[in-house]
């Protein structure tokens, strides 16, 4: 008898790993978004600021990786049927991260003429990534019609 492939339910460990590394990767762009709104560049050297933010993010990544590794067994035992809240968090991180990448492009001296092009490419990449992650790990398909 043919049996359909059962969808795998992932533990909280996998979800936390995704969320943690997504947060860390997008941390610099997210901080830059805030700095851009409140115009930090007018009161401090933005390159030095970016460097220190990147250093702090690196330190946090190392510490977080260790904490995750130490609590691995604990989180692997915990499972949820759907990770809706976690996916919403990832969605917001990505939205601001996307804008942060555009801000980073601007700060690094990229031509403003091509900002829309950069954003479209990054948006498409993020959309695909979120769609795949949402369907596979978070059990959340936002393209599906209810």
């Amino acid at each position: 008898m043919m049996q359909g492939k059962k969808p795998k339910i992932y533990s909280e460990y996998e979800i936390r790993v995704i969320l943690f590394y997504a947060t860390m990767i997008l941390a610099l762009p997210n901080v830059l978004v805030l700095s851009y709104i409140f115009d930090f560049s007018s009161v401090l050297d933005i390159y030095r600021f970016m460097f220190w933010v990147a250093m702090v993010v690196l330190a946090l990544t190392i510490a977080g990786t260790l904490i995750l590794w130490l609590n691995r067994d604990h989180y692997k035992r915990r499972v949820k049927a759907s990770y809706r809240g976690e996916f919403i968090y990832l969605l917001f991180q990505s939205a601001f991260g996307l804008l942060g990448i555009a801000v980073l492009y601007d700060y690094l001296g990229g031509s403003r003429q091509y900002i829309a092009n950069v954003m479209i490419i990054v948006f498409a990449a993020f959309f695909y990534l979120l769609y795949t992650l949402g369907r596979k790990y978070f059990k959340f398909d936002y393209m599906k019609k209810r």
């Binding site: 709104i37 409140f38 919403i88 917001f92 959340f140």
Partner: protein, 377 residues
């Protein structure tokens, strides 16, 4: 024999028609009596409104804050006083921080606008608009002639201003009172949340208590989910709009961005309201981003918000047909003014909860007692 068999059903239908007619007549009689004593009713309604506005605001705030208190208590941060204190201070802190950091930017931009660009807009309206007028310069001249002859604006201002001021004070005073009372009300409401719910439940007749408690919990869940989601969306779309406006080089990006966030509370219309000022500004003043780019940015932002964020944040329970939302905005807006427009969606969602709940109850009754209460003895 057949006629005899059908008789009880016909009687039942007749009884029901008579019952509904009696209810309709009684309702009309009540309305008629209410109209006769309209002054007394207006006193009573004013008194109720004075109480209801702060209580409703406290309830809405409680729907946002209470899940946080519950979360802290689940994590072992208690008793209630401590968790309430933390959430309350956090909320006040966030509101204060928003005002403290955002207000100077907004005030600066408004000041800049009046010193740099306001005169340009006036000049455009009184001069260049004639050439750009979409119905032609001749019609523009005729309209201006009419306005000058009839002193239209001054007459309109003289007529409308006193009414506007009295209406504004009529809205502002109760609102200010409500805002002043709100923190105290909220503290007591959140402290005794369960006790108040139990007291309200105890008023309901025992026969309906369970059903009404279920309905109340569904309403709380729906309205709470709507408010939390809407707040999150407003914050996100406001921030995104501010950054994108700045990226495309739009002047006064902060004010326009805040406007996008604030007006996002009104579904569909909010988008249009927020998009109009920056487009008009870029048409009149010109400069960096053209009106088409501003329009495109607004369309893209609203598309992403409406198709990606909203369906994810506002869960299935709040999904409503756009037509229902638009009708409810028009209806509640005409009934309660600005507040009605803002709260049209949660009111419509609540009505939907009522409808589904009573439909479920009816189906349940039909399942247990038969379609016309045949199970009744």
């Amino acid at each position: 024999m057949n006629g005899l068999k059908k008789k009880p059903i016909a009687d039942d239908r007749l009884n029901r028609i008579i019952k509904y007619l009696a209810i309709a007549l009684l309702a009309l009689a009540v309305v008629f009596m209410a109209v006769q004593f309209s002054e007394v009713w207006s006193w009573i309604i004013n008194a109720i409104r004075t109480v209801i506005v702060p209580v409703a605001l406290a309830w809405l705030f409680a729907l946002i804050m209470f899940p946080l208190i519950r979360y802290l208590e689940k994590k072992g941060i208690g008793p209630r006083g401590l968790s309430l204190g933390i959430v309350f201070l956090l909320t006040v802190g966030i509101i204060f921080a928003i005002f403290f950091f955002v207000t100077p930017f907004v005030v600066d931009e408004i000041k800049n606008f009046f010193t740099n660009d306001f005169q340009k807009i006036i000049d455009y309206l009184t001069g260049d608009l004639r050439d750009d007028f979409f119905l032609g310069p001749d019609l523009y001249d005729k309209i201006m002639e009419y306005i000058n002859e009839t002193d239209f604006f001054n007459t309109w201002l003289d007529e409308a201003l006193p009414g506007l001021i009295s209406r504004l004070s009529g809205v502002l005073l109760p609102l200010l009172t409500a805002v002043a009372i709100l923190p105290i009300l909220l503290i007591y409401y959140l402290r005794d949340y369960e006790m108040i719910s139990d007291r309200v439940r105890s008023v309901i007749p025992q026969k309906h208590e369970k059903r009404m408690a279920e309905l109340g919990s569904r309403l709380n869940q729906t309205v709470g989910a709507y408010l939390r989601g809407q707040l999150l969306l407003m914050l996100a779309i406001g921030t995104v709009a501010t950054i994108v406006y700045k990226l495309i080089g739009l002047k006064y990006f902060f004010v326009f961005g805040v406007l996008v966030g604030v007006t996002n509370i009104i579904p569909y219309f909010g988008t249009i309201i927020a998009a109009v000022p920056p487009i008009i500004y870029s048409v009149i003043v010109g400069g960096a981003p053209g009106p088409l780019l501003v329009l495109a940015v607004n369309v893209v932002m609203q598309f992403i918000e409406g198709n990606i964020f909203q369906p994810v944040i506002m869960a299935h329970q709040l999904e409503m047909h756009p037509l229902i939302i638009i009708i409810s905005i028009l209806f509640f807006g005409s009934l309660f003014g600005t507040l009605g427009v803002i709260f049209a969606s949660p009111i419509a969602a609540s009505i939907r909860v009522f409808y589904h709940f009573f439909k479920e109850q009816r189906q349940l009754t039909e399942l247990t007692e038969g379609p016309l209460g045949e199970g009744k003895t």
